[in-house]
Symmetry: C2
Subunit: 188 residues, 2 copies
Amino acid sequence: MGRKAIIEGDALMAKLSDMFRRVGYEGATLARLSETTGLKKPSLYHRFPGGKEQMACEVLDDAGRWLATHVLEPLTADGSPRARIEHMASQLDRFYRGGEQACLLNLLSAPLGSDGPFQDRVSAMFEAFIDAIAAVVTEDGIAPAEARLRAERAVAQIQGSLVLSRGLGRTEPFRDALSELPDRLLGQ
Amino acid sequence: MGRKAIIEGDALMAKLSDMFRRVGYEGATLARLSETTGLKKPSLYHRFPGGKEQMACEVLDDAGRWLATHVLEPLTADGSPRARIEHMASQLDRFYRGGEQACLLNLLSAPLGSDGPFQDRVSAMFEAFIDAIAAVVTEDGIAPAEARLRAERAVAQIQGSLVLSRGLGRTEPFRDALSELPDRLLGQ
DNA sequence: GTCTATAGGAAGATAGAC
DNA sequence: GTCTATCTTCCTATAGAC
């Protein structure tokens, strides 16, 4: 029962993800990534031969899997559309730590018109998020085009509330966005 | 009528602002700032003795003045609340180049809980933006607390639509957010 | 699979000539 | 007020011992 000397897979990815979400891609230097994980730089390169870019890609893929498993799949489960959306809101609250953690999709987005190494992953994750929400809204009797519009607006609202929470230094905007989510998606 | 050899105040600030909005604070290296302005690094330091941090501060202040003059002050002008909000939307469309330019307030925000050199400016600008919108909504007969909530949501929607537009590589989310703005603020 | 030590280059910033 | 040349620091990345 001795304490693990070396960080393992899940905890490692969590530490890396934390850093990227806190200071962004450029701000996440190898020195900082090394300090937060307890692994020296050559050890990080041993696990991620592609360096920082590979770390960010794997962190993004990890977040994508968490999103799919804990947020999107439950949207197709049993229960009323409203109950499922409320469940999604509570999962998003965990995902973003009550609004204290920024979104990787914001921090790793390339400038519009260019294409950074993460752009395909980012846009695919946004699309998957929007599609899953739109499906539930459609299921509740809203026309598909209107449902998709509402889903896009909801995703934007969540992203923007995270930006605003960070900018204002308080998490109320994020928590308000979550609480407003069911009515905004299913209203009238 | 000879061409100016050296870039002047307004054009200089525009170039710097462009770069910060495209690649963020860390991505805006002095080499890039030098290339885009046509001024060598020592010339930039001559004009901004505080270096990159001062450049970002002045760019932020510049944006704050533009926001106050072209977006917020017209909100207190003549005309119906709806007409003023529609005018604000068209000014925001210019400000963000139809959704193609990111927002400095997003790119220069410090991690929640810490306080970067721009955090005071960023939160003050967000507050001013929210206050100005809330005042118009209140003027239209909405209770002050509800008006402020709507204003916060609207600012978050705009910010998030910019994030989403960048992530998806298309500007529809931003333009949709602008068109939805009047109804969302003044509805029922 | 981890480490110490270091290479090689780009970063922010400055000295001093013109 | 601009420039060439340079400084120091920090960055990503690797060599090679254990």
